[in-house]
Structure formats: structure tokens, C-alpha cells
Amino acid sequence: MALITRRRLGQAALASAIAGAGQTPGLFPAFAQSANPLRIGYGMALSGGLAGNGRATNLAYQIWAEEVNARGGLLGRPVQLVVYDDQTNGGTVPGIYTKLLDVDKVDIVTSPYATAMIAPAMPVVMQRQVTFLTIFGAGVNESFKYDRHFNMNVVGDNMKETYAKGFFEVIDMLPSPARSIAITAVDNEFAQKAAESARHFANQRKLRIVYDRSYPPTTVDFTPTVRAIQSARPDVVFIASYPPDTNGILRAVSELRFQPQIFGGAMVGPQLAAMQAQLGPILNNLVNWDTYSPEPTMQFPGVAAFQAKYRERAPAAQTDLLGNYIPPYAYAQMQVLEAALTRIGKVDQAALAADLRANTFETIVGKVKFGPTGEWAESRNLYCQFQNITDGDLERYKKPGAKVILAPAALKSGSLRAPYGPPA
């Protein structure tokens, strides 16, 4: 069971050490390994609103730890993951991280998922000058300016000037130029920053913004919102939403038969298997922000093998069945950690931070290089279009062709289809 991870991984580490006894020159090195595991601690949303992605991240970490242990461990020590459920509640996070660092005395800490849980951990790790690898945070270090913070997220450090760039590159692919855009975003950190970026590029390209509103996260009926957008007759619609509202918006758009030239933006949800299965053809021709798609242009070494392993275990772990969103990045985050620790040869927080800052890392999501603020030095926001979606069958999302990459140009794998809407 995923929730009793410490015990399970303790057993796994022990089993690994015992198994390793047969592979190592003598019995004693293996015995020494099991007595001194390399402990990596983190809080994670294993329950609550963000549990879907939290559990997926945790599974990716577990797969990495098991693989490392099967290879004989890291720095000659078996890896042990120490995980606590933060319940998607930032209030639990300071306690969890002081427990990890002061009581459990873990060697390395990584972050919870995502911004609202990462931020409360920052003062705790900063006070102890611990190198902090975070996952899918959005601009957390803009305020803290901590020089040992490294975030695994394609968004980069200048969200306003980079995030929606790809979406507007897709707009340029329309056969007749778009003249107007509607923007709407849910009231939260990530969505508001995404909408800010869309406004930036719309103004830069002199697109007329005919609708620009936010809505509260508690909104359940999106028919009035979609009708208002529809009545403004935009050529393009940019939505920044979270899973519950994404679902509501797309269903309202489908019911009202609203078919602008391009519809999509920064909708969180269509990246996940559960929503792909639920929405089926409603997703067809949606142009949306993403992090990974199994297109030929993204077949980085190791990603297919990881996903095969992940998909095998996802049903039992009660998490996202496809692992096309956060899991490859979670695994890559651990690859980065592994490479840096292997290079410096010891657990030294200052040396680890220096190594992470200085080097480029080969991972299953491609090359990763951190910039001065600890974000990716170069952003890589994908804008994918769902194509040929006729039903909720998830098998198609394991192969190329269902989520075609339109931007950035370096990873482009297909052509834009317009307008948005399910196939006739």
C-alpha cells in the first residue's frame, strides 16, 4: 500500500541489501549498506485535492529508488524514501520538514507537489541550508531567492514572457490571421500567471482582447461564462483552469457547440488519463499546454521503459494510468539528483547545489539545465493538439498521433487543425 511507504521502502532496502549480498564481493559490504541507507525525505500530497498528481510523483520516485537499489544503491548505500502525506494542506508542511530534517535526519530532501505546499517548506530548508529539489512549483523562489533551490518544471523563471509564447506561435499557424482573443482564468497562482502571459503576448501581437475575466475556484456552472465568451465572438480562446473547472468548461463548450478557430490554453486536466477517458471526443482539436507527449520528437532515451514500468504499477497505486504528465519529470528529477551525488561522491549540501547549478543533466525528459534562480534555464512549454479523438479509449495516448506537438518548433510533430470541435 502506497501510504505506508517508509515501512515498505525500509523492507525494500533490506531486501535489496540482502539480494546485494550475493552480488557483492563479500557479505559485509552489503551488511554495511543496509545499516546506512541514503535517506531521501519529502512530504507529498497522497490525499486531498492534489493527490492525483502527488501519488503519480510518489510512484515515479519509488520506481527510481528500486532501480537504483537494484543497481547496488547510490554512493554505495541503498536508497530509502521517507515520505509523509501532506494531505494537500500547506499547514502540515513545516512540521513534516522539521521532522524529516531534525528527527529522521534524512540526507536529502525533495519537495511536495506543488507551489502551495513547496512554499511552506522553503523557510525550514533555508534555515538548515539544505539543497532543495522541487517539483512543478510556479515561481516559488521569486520571493525566497534561495541559492540552493532547483525546480523541475518546464515553465522556466520568466513565466510572463515565455509561458504562452507557444500558444501564440500556434495562432500564427491559422490560415487566416486571428484578430481577437478571449482570456479567462481561475483565481489561483498558476492560472493567473498563465493568463498574464497570454495578455502579454496578445498585446504584443496586437490581438484585440474581447473578453478577460477571472472566476472563483468554487464555480460549478460554466454555461454563463461560455455564453459570455461566445457572444464576444473571439477567434481564439485562452483558458487557464484547474481540473474540476476544466471539465465543466469543456462540457459547457461542447453543449453550446462553441467552435472558435483555436480553443485551449493552460487547462490543467486534459493531460491526465482520467479526464482523457471521461471527455473523449470533446478534447478533439483542443490546443493545450502540456509537458510530455509520446511523439517521435520526444522519445528521449529511457522514457519508454520508464512509462512501461509506471503503467504496469499505476492501477495498484491508484494513480494516473498513463503517466504522461508529471511522472517522467519526477523520475528525471531523481536522475538529476543521482547524477549530481555520483559526481560529488558524498552528501554535501553546498557541493550538491554547486554541481546542480554548474552542470547539464541527461534525463528521460531530455537535457536539463538550471538557471540562476533554480528554474530551468530555458523553458519548454509544449502546446499540443488532441487529434483524431473519437472516444475515451486510453490506448491511443500511449502512441504518437493523439497529442500532436505544435510548439515549440524544435519538437513539432504535426500540423494545426482548426476549428476546435469534435469530429462530425
Binding site: L46, G91, G95, T98, D102
Partner: protein, 322 residues
């Protein structure tokens, strides 16, 4: 009204106050010294978690326990305190202690205003009104960009505050002092004319009014005091976590625990919320780092069901009955 309310033993009250305050300060010192001897920062963070609920539950008890007016808006008042601290920090550069004082004033006034508007409602109607207040406040905060709005607000705190060993120790001591003061205020209210008047209101408001208890005035005093202390519980929250967003500040856990803790410990007595808060918050903190899951609220729910069934007057009532 009980027989004790017919007398006014002020002299006896004065005599009883000193040992209480000495005892409370002694217990607080013992707790602090024990944690310092252990020398582990985690103790301070876990201790803060428990103590914030001691303050919150004791504050809730003033209106809910003594007067019988069930307030479902505890999270709203706590968040109002937290966001007041954020506002005065950003606007005037006020640090934690002035922030707490401002939060007490603002949420006290908020409590007074809420009381004025809603105390003509009784029973479930009053409870619904307080629940609505939390929703209104959350909507206000979500749309107020100056305090972070929906994005949340960062509070970059110093790493240490001399002469304290760490910021964790400092914020724990602040919350410890707030807990002692709040419990002291709750006890003072309980044994004062105000408390007796509130108890009379709880037992039978019309009868109390008939015998001359100024019900509206007492209820307004109670809502103001209750609001101020709940705000005090919330003011250090952004300093504790370094970041606060509306979801965390208006968390359901605060609203549920504020009610569950006094009910489990024994509502209507100053010691009941303390016992309930220490018991439940410790259990929740232990659950977070042992079984580690959202079973926290599940545990609270079950304990509440068990107590409501077996010991409806809480732990103190259970032992008192025997």
C-alpha cells in the same frame, strides 16, 4: 441558572486567580524547558500546531461553550487574523507581535459586527450565518490582490531572532504565551459575571432576559472576545509557514477542530477545550508523521461520534458524572 450565579464572591475569585496564573506560567515554562532540553526543532513546530488549537478551541468555547451559540465560522476569523497580519506587515512593516495585536483588534471588531448583525438569530440560523461569514471573507481575500489574492502571500521571515535559538523556538514561545493568555481569559470569563450571564443565556435565553440579564450586550461582548482570540490564533500562521493562500487559511480543518476539540474535552469549561485540543491536535500531528494520511479528519470525526454518543458532555463531563 445554577445556584452559584446567585452569589458574587468577588473576593474568592481574586484569591483563585493568582494560583491559576502561577500554575499556567509554570506549566508553560516546564513545556518550554522540556523542549529546549530535547533540543529538537520539530518539537517546536509540533508544539505550535497543538497550541494554535488550544487558542482556537478556547476562543470558540467562549461563545459556543458558555453561551451555546455554535460558531461554524472559526476558519473565517482565524483567516481574518492571518490576513490582517499580512496586511499590516505589507502596509506598515509591522512584525509578528504588532501584527497579532492588530489582528486582535480587527477580528474583535469583526466579531462585534457579526454579533450585532446575527445574534438576533438563534440555533441553527446563527450557525449558518457564521458559516456564510467565512465564505464572504474567503471571497473577499481571493479577490484582494494586495494581500496576495488567490495566488497567496509570502512572508519572508528572518532565520533567527536573538536571543532565541531559532525562529521555530521564537514562534513557539509566542504561541505558548498566547495560549496561556487565552486560557486565562477564558477562565476569567467563566468565573465572572459575563460567564455566568452567558451560561444563563445558554440554559434559557428568555428566562435570563426576564430576570434582567442584558443578553444582547453579553452576547456582543462574547462575539467580540471570541473573534479577537480566534484572530490571535491565526495571526502567526503566515509567519509559521512562510506562505499563506486562501485554501490553507480557510481550511475546513480549522472549522472542524474548533468545534470538535471543546466538545470532546468538555464545552462550557475553560479546561475542556485545552484537554480536547491537546488530545486531538497531538493525535493528528502524530498521525501525520506515523500513519501519514488524511485519516486525521477521519480520526476527529470518529472520536466526535464516539464522544457525542457515549460522553456528550466531553471528557470533563464524563469524569464529573462519576
Amino acid at each position: 441558572m445554577s445556584a452559584t450565579t446567585l452569589t458574587d464572591p468577588r473576593g474568592a475569585d481574586r484569591i483563585r486567580h493568582l494560583p491559576f496564573w502561577l500554575g499556567a506560567v509554570g506549566v508553560a515554562l516546564a513545556v518550554f524547558l522540556a523542549l529546549r532540553l530535547i533540543g529538537n526543532e520539530y518539537g517546536y513546530y509540533a508544539g505550535y500546531f497543538v497550541l494554535q488549537y488550544v487558542v482556537l478551541a478556547s476562543a470558540w468555547n467562549i461563545l459556543g461553550g458558555y453561551a451555546g451559540y455554535v460558531n461554524f465560522g472559526a476558519a473565517g476569523f482565524l483567516a481574518a487574523g492571518a490576513y490582517t497580519a499580512i496586511f499590516v506587515r505589507k502596509a506598515f512593516g509591522f512584525d509578528l507581535i504588532p501584527g497579532i495585536l492588530c489582528a486582535a483588534v480587527v477580528t474583535g471588531l469583526l466579531g462585534l459586527g457579526t454579533g450585532y448583525l446575527t445574534l438576533r438569530l438563534r440555533g441553527v440560523y446563527f450557525s449558518i450565518a457564521t458559516l456564510c461569514l467565512a465564505v464572504v471573507l474567503q471571497t473577499l481575500v481571493v479577490n484582494w490582490d494586495y494581500v496576495g489574492g488567490s495566488r497567496g502571500a509570502y512572508v519572508i521571515r528572518p532565520m533567527t531572532i536573538p536571543p532565541f535559538a531559532s525562529y521555530g523556538e521564537y514562534i513557539f514561545l509566542v504561541m505558548l504565551a498566547l495560549a496561556v493568555i487565552t486560557v486565562g481569559i477564558a477562565r476569567t470569563v467563566e468565573v465572572s459575571r459575563l460567564g455566568r450571564g452567558l451560561q444563563a443565556i445558554r440554559d434559557n435565553e428568555r428566562a435570563a432576559e426576564a430576570v434582567g440579564v442584558p443578553t444582547l450586550r453579553l452576547k456582543l461582548m462574547a462575539t467580540a472576545l471570541c473573534g479577537a482570540l480566534m484572530g490571535v490564533a491565526g495571526a502567526p500562521l503566515p509567519y509559521y509557514s512562510g506562505y499563506l493562500n486562501p485554501d490553507a487559511a480557510f481550511s475546513l480543518a480549522f472549522a472542524v477542530n474548533a468545534i470538535a476539540m471543546p466538545l470532546i474535552g468538555g464545552a462550557g469549561t475553560w479546561a475542556g477545550p485545552v484537554i480536547g485540543a491537546v488530545l486531538l491536535a497531538s493525535l493528528q500531528q502524530a498521525a501525520t508523521v506515523t500513519i501519514s494520511s488524511a485519516l486525521n479528519l477521519w480520526i476527529v470525526g470518529w472520536i466526535l461520534v464516539i464522544f457525542v454518543t457515549i460522553a456528550p458532555r466531553g471528557i470533563l463531563g464524563w469524569f464529573g458524572k462519576r
